[in-house]
């Protein structure tokens, strides 16, 4: 099943696109596993995901820690800590 991956702020800029639709491989147990797998897709991905401590994530628009179980979501977003207001 295809999953929509969304990127925001400097994560989006380093990767060069705001969204990708990907078929995720089996064996990705957590969001951190997904991030590690995505890092291998290009130099931009590797740069964006070089420091996982600087990343935040949402699975189907619910904010989760990177250690959270990945499950079979329709949409995953990866982004820096928020700075609104």
């Amino acid at each position: 099943m295809a999953t929509e991956i969304l990127y925001f702020a400097w994560v989006r800029e380093k990767i060069g696109v705001g969204a990708e639709t990907l078929d995720l491989p089996d064996g990705l147990a957590t969001v951190a596993d997904l991030v590690a797998w995505l890092a291998g897709r290009s130099d931009g991905h590797a740069e964006a995901f070089a420091e996982p401590a600087r990343l935040r994530a949402a699975v189907d628009q619910v904010f989760v820690p990177l250690e959270a179980s990945l499950g079979r979501p329709r949409e995953i977003a990866i982004f820096p800590p928020v700075t609104g207001g």
């Binding site: 702020a9 949402a58 820096p80 800590p81 928020v82 700075t83 609104g84």
Partner: protein, 146 residues
């Protein structure tokens, strides 16, 4: 009554205040965030996560209404490119008494800063930079934990 808006249109305080005042309470508290003219910042660009941002703001407003028994909560956040002096965010709360309105207003802006998916980018003469989160914002948000 809860009203949440995320839009690139300029924020007009008069219209925002009138909308929250229509909740018909004894007191209205508001916070207005303005693009600072210091730090050599020439422009500020706000990016957000469409859908998730609005949902996060509604969840915060619902929490505030329940906790302080508000008669109304309004959050209007601008996105896109802004200039110093432009309004970034308006928060308004309506309650029967001032204490609830003032506390709920502070709660909403504190928690919005750490929980709603917005990202600020500053434009300086020498280029652009993404704004880093501030530890003081985390501390301000944490004081509302129950």
């Amino acid at each position: 009554m809860i009203a949440v808006t995320v839009d690139a249109a300029p924020i007009e305080v008069g219209a925002e205040h009138a909308a929250i005042a229509a909740s018909g309470a004894g007191g209205i508290a508001t916070f207005t965030g303005i693009v600072r003219a210091d730090d050599r910042v020439m422009a500020l660009t706000l990016e957000h996560y469409p859908g998730a941002t609005e949902a996060a703001l509604v969840a915060l407003a619902e929490a505030a209404v329940a906790r302080w028994d508000l008669t109304g909560a309004r959050i209007t956040h601008r996105v896109g490119r802004m200039l110093p002096g432009d309004l970034v965010v308006f928060v308004g709360t309506a309650a029967r008494h001032r204490g609830a309105a003032l506390e709920a207003c502070a709660f909403l802006i504190d928690r919005l800063k750490t929980e709603a998916p917005f990202w600020k980018k500053e434009t300086l003469a020498e280029g652009e930079r993404w704004v880093d989160p501030r530890g003081s914002d985390d501390a301000a948000a944490a004081r509302w934990s129950v």
